[in-house]
Symmetry: C2
Subunit: 78 residues, 2 copies
DNA sequence: TTGTAGACTGGCGTCGACT
DNA sequence: TAGTCGACGCCAGTCTACA
């Protein structure tokens, strides 16, 4: 029930970040991104570029394919 | 031997497209993208956004996670 | 700690045309 | 068929700041 890949991506990022007990601030630092931008992405207000997706995956310590597999799962219907 | 995710992504797209006997033109049509932009991406001159990655994966008839798994394989050393 | 806002720079993605 | 170029509009991503 979530046809939007951008919103789904944000949801997954937020879930994983919280599950690791990280703040947006610390995630932003690890991924070399701006904290305000992390917030926009998590709420589906901005879509990241390829490089940013890699940076986020690295910061969350999982592979890009594993990250996007979770996005696909959310897209498939949560 | 290829540390650049953007170039690796381009290589994978080009390989898969050729393996399916598609032209850049037809891939661009399927993915609702510009042919010139497909060329830039395949040669690592431009990096796609999240939405564009999904469009490309769909046009190549494979999942985003599978697509990026192949990118990771190239990154890992071909 | 997070969401959001405004202003800003650089780059995504389109289009037309030429090689 | 594919690579590239210039011009263009729009958005990714940064920074500062406030609730």
């Amino acid at each position: 029930m979530n046809g939007d890949p951008i919103k789904s991506f944000g949801l997954v990022i937020k879930e994983i970040r919280k599950s690791q007990g990280l703040s947006q601030e610390s995630l932003a630092t690890e991924a070399n991104l701006d904290r305000a931008f992390i917030s926009q992405v998590e709420n589906g207000h901005k879509q990241p570029s390829l490089l940013t997706i890699f940076r986020l995956a690295d910061a969350l310590k999982l592979s890009v394919s594993e990250l996007l597999k979770q996005v696909e799962a959310v897209l498939a219907g949560n």
